[in-house]
Structure formats: C-alpha cells, structure tokens
C-alpha cells in the first residue's frame, strides 16, 4: 500500500500541471467564463497529442494502456487547474467504447483526437430530471432510421462530434454512439460556466449512429457510464478542492489585518484546517474508489460513497473559502470563484444526493428492499 503517485503518475501529474498552467492561465479561464475565447476543437486535439484522450485505451486498440488511476491523475490536474475541458467525458467514452467490439474505428479517432466524443451525463439511469420544462422533454429515441428527442445539458456538445447516450430503439433500451452533425445544439449557461448545451434531435437521420448495446446489456452499459462519470467527476472535484485549500491558506498567510496575518487568528486557522480535512478525505476516497473499480469493474460501491462525501464537502468548502477570502474572493477577476462555483455545480452533476442515498442504503441494508426507481 502506498498513498502516493507511482513514478509514471508523478510524471503524468507534473507534465499535465505544467501544460495546463502554461496554456490555461487564469486570464484565459476568465475569458472562457465570459464566452469570449472558448475552448476549441484544436485545443482538444492537442490533448490527444499528449496522449491524454486515449490514455486508458488498451495498447492493442491503439491507446496508451494506462490504468484508470493514471487517468485519474490527469483528471485531478484538470480540476486543480479549473480547466473546463472534455477530459472526464472523453475518458468515460473511451472506456465504454473499449468495452465492446462494435466501434473500433471510433476508439482510434478518439485516441488521435480526429473526432471529439462526449457523454450524455445528465440522463442518468437513477437520477431523472424532475423539475422544470426539461423534465417533460422527450427522451432520445430511434425509429425507422431517424432520431427524435432531447439530450439535456450535454457537456461540450458545441465542439463534440459524437455523443454516447442511452436511448430507446423501437421501444427497447439501447446505448448508442450518436453523431451530433444532424442535431440542433442549444447552448445554455450553467453555474460552473463550462460549455454545455441541450441537444435536440428533431427527426435527424440516424446515419452513422451505432448501437453499442441493446436490451439488458444496454442497461448495464448505462450503469457503467453513470458509475464512471461519477467516479471521475469526484476525482476532478478533488483537484478543485486541493486548489481551493491552497489558495485559501496562501491568502490568509499574506493578508494582514489587525497588524498580523489573518492566518494567526485561531478561528481562521481552524477554518483552514477544516478545508484540509474536507479536501483530503474527498480526494483519497475518490482515488480509492477508482482503484476498487479497476480491481473489479462490478464493484461500484465506493464510488457512490465518495460522491456522497464530495457532494457535502464541496459546498462546505465554498462556504469556508469565501469566508476566509472576504471581498477579494468574490471578484470576477480573482480565480477563487471559478473553483467554488464549479464545486457547487459538481455537487449536483454526475449523481445527486438523492441518487447516492438510494444506492448506498440499498447496498448497505438490502433488507430495506429496493427503492422504487424512475428509469427513463
């Protein structure tokens, strides 16, 4: 046992950190936030050149054959740098594509960055959208060669070429790879300010769509998709948290009030210590959960546990960090808000507290009986 990066991971972490710090300084992130200089498909292709996109794709399928934990290190660094990029969705998509034989050419396009892949993260099997007009939107379905329905809140739909999503085919569950070319992309503004859009298929041709799984296998693929999205999102959130901790401790060490650094006041030190407890526990729980999943792909229990913790820790860190930063921290030209607004968003995305509660309690107390689910 070793709660430390391996040599490979250390190298991955250092290169990722250096690259992101260089290409995505805070000034660029403010511009992305304002919609002035959005992330481009070319930049995502640049990630492919660094080997990040096909990181976990097996070597015999053209990837780097790295472990899920290695990928987690890269994702952690994207969080640490608060770069809103399709890294989690790409790693998830690659895992799903690699789990079937149906679409080998897509795995190589993904690895090479010649096409960009995303995942319909908001259409969770156990977390239906219940409120507002999206709750009434028709789910994606394929009939007689055409696609209809809406995929709400798809990350990076604006630059992606394909989306992996659950759908129904002639009323049967399926999980498919869907081209975005014929879809209507409706950009929306989300709390975390990452590029997101509703994707509407108003009778688009299903040409180029591939059914990766149908029937019970599709349900299982959807479950795997949700588990991977949740697991890697918690890792990304852990990166955000570590940076919030660092920014806060640096800030109170330098900020002088009443003739001394704020860090000298016991109340403030205790706040900083709590930031440490929250972020360290969230972060290691996330890595541990990814390790478990890697050991046994059917063992997803710790993913739900880590997300439940993270969903509480994120908003708590928002509160502590803003308290410690005072007025400076809320400025749009100061980086803290990029992290804290993302923390609040992440606590709701990729698995809400309702979904985590149900999954955890069902597993821990099987005799309580399965709670009713409202699968789409």
């Amino acid at each position: 046992m070793r709660f430390q990066d391996s040599d490979t991971q250390k190298l991955l972490r250092e290169t990722t950190r250096a690259f992101l710090a260089d290409k995505f300084p805070h000034a660029r992130l403010y511009a992305i936030e304002k919609g002035e200089n959005p992330l481009t498909a070319d930049e995502v292709r640049g990630f492919a050149e660094l080997g990040w996109l096909g990181l976990t794709v097996p070597e015999n399928k053209g990837g780097a054959g790295a472990t899920l934990l290695d990928a987690a290190v890269v994702i952690d660094e994207f969080g640490y740098a608060a770069v809103p990029a399709p890294i989690v969705v790409t790693i998830v998509a690659s895992q799903l594509l690699a789990s079937v034989e149906a679409a080998p050419e897509h795995l190589s396009q993904l690895t090479e960055g010649t096409a960009i892949y995303t995942v319909s993260a908001a259409t969770r099997r156990r977390g239906p959208i219940r409120y507002g007009t999206l709750a009434g939107a028709a789910a994606l379905s394929m009939n007689n060669g055409t696609l209809t329905g809406t995929l709400p809140l798809v990350p990076f739909a604006g630059i992606a070429t394909f989306v992996l999503a659950p759908l129904t085919v002639d009323g049967e569950p399926a999980f498919g790879l869907i081209p975005l070319v014929g879809a209507r992309i409706e950009p929306v503004r989300v709390l975390d300010r990452a590029s997101t859009a509703h994707v509407h298929f108003d009778g688009a041709s299903a040409n180029g769509a591939i059914l990766l799984a149908t029937g019970p296998a599709a349900v299982e693929m959807h479950e795997l998709c949700d588990a991977l999205m949740t697991g890697f999102s918690v890792v990304e959130t852990g990166g955000l948290m570590r940076r919030v901790l660092e920014m806060s401790t640096t800030y109170i060490s330098n900020r002088v009030q009443f003739g001394q650094p704020v860090a000298k006041f016991q109340a403030a030190r205790h706040r900083a210590a709590e930031l440490l407890m929250q972020s360290e526990s969230a972060r290691w729980a996330a890595y541990h959960a990814i390790w478990r999943l890697e050991e046994d792909p059917s063992d997803r229990r710790e993913i739900w546990l880590a997300k439940h913790w993270s969903n509480r820790a994120g908003p708590r860190m928002f509160e502590l960090a803003h308290l410690l930063h005072g007025g400076v921290g809320v400025g749009l030209d100061y980086p803290l808000h990029l992290y804290t607004q993302w923390l609040e968003s992440a606590a709701v995305q990729a698995g809400t507290q309702n979904e985590m509660t149900n999954r955890i309690v069902e597993e821990a107390v099987p005799s309580a009986g399965k709670l009713a689910t409202a699968a789409r």
């Binding site: 219940r130 908003p315 809320v330 309702n354 149900n358 709670l371």
Partner: protein
C-alpha cells in the same frame, strides 16, 4: 412570556401587502431581473412613489419628516420588502439619514434629509480600503485641512454604488497621530468632485461594486459630519431602527415557499434525501424566525440586542448558503441553469437558484465577518474575557 405580535402591526402588514401588490408592476419586476450594474429607472420611480406615500422614512422620527413608527412596524416593513426581493436604498436610509439626525449640523439636516425621504439623492459608503476590511479602524485615506477645505487623498475598495450615487459618505483619517479609533472623521463628498476616479469591480454575485481613487479631492469644511475625529464612534453606534435592518430571512422563506410549490404534485419515492434535507431547512427557518422576533422584541422594549444580533447574522447567512446548496441538490441540474437558459428554474420573483447561490457568498463576511460575530457573541453573550 408573551409571543403575540401586536394586532396593529399585523393590520399594518396587511395594508402594506395590499399597497405593494398595487405598486409593484410587472415592469418593475422585469427591470429588477435585468443587469444589476445600474439601478434601473423603474426602481428609482418605485422609490419616489414609496417616498411620496410616506413609506420610505417609515421608521424615521416625525420631526424629520418620517413616519415615527416603532421598530416592530419597521420589522414588518423590511420583511415584506425582503420577501419580494424589492430593493431598499438601505445605506442612504439606514446609515446616512440616522447619523445625520444624530450629529449632523442644522444645515446638513435641511439639505439632505428631506431629499433622502423623497428618494432624490443617493449615497455610497466609502469605508473599506485595500488594507482595512475587517480591521476597518486602520483605514489610511487622509483628509487634511487646508483653509476652508478638506483635501482628500487615498483609495477605497468595494465602494458600491459610487458609479451612480450623488454623494459619498466617507470615513477618512484626520489625525494620523492619535490611536487608530480616535483619528477618524466622516465627510460627505459629492461624487462629481474633481480628483475622484471610479473603476468597476464585478463580482460573482452579479453586482457591480467599485474601486475608488482620491487625488487631492477638495471639499468645503462644512462637509464634516459631527465632530472631527469622532467618526469611529458615529460609525459604530446605531439607532434602534437601524438594528432591525434587512435580513436574509424573508428571502429564505421565499426560497422554501418556492420549492414547496415545485413539490406540490408530490415527491417521487426515490427522493429520499430531499425529505430529510427539506425538513432540516424548514426547522432551520423556524428557529431563525423565532430568534428574529426575539431580537426585534428586545429592541422594541428599549434594550440592545448585542449577542442576539450577531447570532442572527451568523445563523441566517450560513443557513441561507446551505439552504441554497441543498435546494439545487434537491432540484437537480435544471436549477444550475442561469436566468435566460431554457429549461432553467426561476422563482416567482424572477430569481434563478444558481444566481442566488452565487450571491450568498458575500453575506459570510460583509457587514462584519461571521467569525468576528462569533467573537462578539463570546464577549457580549457569554461574558468571556476579551
């Protein structure tokens, strides 16, 4: 013990609700939902209307043209305004006006108070500086007497409203040699004076505030409020009707009511966490409402709610943030959408949940950091050694 709210206050509340239903137009609501950078003309018109109808200086003494209403009426007034998210020119009405009544010269009272009540003029507050936030008394911006004028040099931060207000209510150092609390004075500075530069500072809360710079700004000697070097004392002693200021509690009630409305068709069987979180929210709110009444009652009975005010501030601001985080958790991803994005959730007063969540970051440290409030509770509430 007697927890009954006086019937005349309840009657007033009813009357005021009817009044607001009448004068709050859809245009006003729409204007409020727009950008916060500039107070929209609809809001100014609304304030002038309220002024003309006698509601603006509702708690001010009659001798200054106010309504002379007691604290409990004012409490009801603030509640109804806050619930509807209606803006109140708080600093002008609750900080500047009362201080002028207490220590202003006859000339200043004549010049400013009637115009404040008619909502004709607005003040911005210039206290905070880059190095003087929580430790406000260490402020450095100086005012030096030169003949019949004060000459001001320095800089302020978070000077909210300075880009559109008429006057700045400004704390300056007038005696650099005195102990820090005893060398501060208050000045009224016209914001169109030469030598003032105002730069925008945009916040995640969606509001604009400002950085302001003062380079040999000259104002007449008569700009001084009260006695020279007594500014700190004026800044920290409050009149009763300032103590029942706008609180976040009515907004929190609105948030709870808005989600109850969304839940009216019933919760799904898998919304298990929601049940527990909702129960906590409602129980929190109940506690706040009781403490809020207690604080108002203390003031109404002529006492000073030192520890109670701090308690209320800490609890209400922390709960508000946690409630909003819980609300987006309950409502899921549509509640993360900003106003104007399709599929988003907006409450009946045009507020998005994500917008309210961003906005609540400011409450934690504004108006005296929550950790300082905890110190005050220890000192005033528990009598612990300083």
């Amino acid at each position: 013990m007697d927890f009954k709210y006086p019937p005349e206050v309840e009657a007033f509340r009813e009357e005021f609700r009817t009044y607001l239903d009448r004068i709050v137009t859809p245009e006003l609501k729409a204007a409020m939902a727009r950008s916060h950078d500039q107070t929209p003309p609809e809001v100014h018109a609304f304030w002038r209307q309220m002024g003309a109808d006698g509601y603006l200086g509702f708690g001010w003494p009659k001798e200054y043209g106010g309504g002379g209403k007691s604290v409990l009426f004012l409490h009801a007034f603030n509640h109804e305004m806050g619930y509807r998210n209606l803006p109140v020119p708080v600093v002008t009405l609750n900080t500047v006006g009362p201080a002028l009544m207490r220590v202003g010269t006859e000339e200043q009272k004549q010049e400013f108070l009637p115009r404040i009540l008619r909502a004709e003029i607005e003040f911005a507050i210039g206290y905070t500086e880059p190095e003087a936030g929580t430790d406000l008394a260490s402020l450095k911006t100086s005012a030096v007497r030169d003949g019949d004028e004060w000459v001001i040099n320095g800089r302020k931060v978070f000077t909210t409203g300075a880009h559109q207000a008429d006057y700045l209510w400004m704390a300056v150092r007038t005696d650099p040699d005195a102990p820090k609390h005893r060398g501060i004075s208050l000045l009224i500075v016209p914001l169109d004076s030469e030598g003032i530069e105002v730069q925008p500072f945009h916040t995640m809360a969606g509001h604009r505030t400002n950085l302001t710079f003062y380079d040999n700004v000259r104002v007449p000697a008569s700009a001084l409020v009260g006695e020279e070097n007594r500014g700190w004392y004026y800044m920290t002693t409050q009149l009763d009707f300032e103590r029942v200021a706008i609180s976040p509690i009515p907004q929190m009630e609105r948030i709870v009511n808005s989600i109850k409305e969304l839940f009216k068709d019933g919760l799904g069987p898998d919304e298990t966490w929601t049940r527990s979180a909702l129960a906590s929210m409602i129980a929190d709110l109940n506690v706040l409402q009781v403490l809020d009444m207690k604080t108002a009652a203390i003031v109404a009975n002529g006492d000073v709610p030192l520890a109670e005010a701090s308690m209320l501030k800490v609890l209400s601001n922390e709960f508000k943030l946690r409630h909003l985080a819980d609300v987006v958790q309950m409502l899921g991803e549509p509640s993360l959408l900003a106003t104007g994005s399709s599929g988003g959730l907006i409450d009946e007063w045009g507020q998005s949940y994500e917008g309210q969540l961003r906005g609540s970051s400011v409450n934690l440290f504004g108006g005296g950091s929550n950790d300082i409030q905890r110190d005050l509770m220890a000192i005033h509430g528990l009598g612990l050694p300083r």
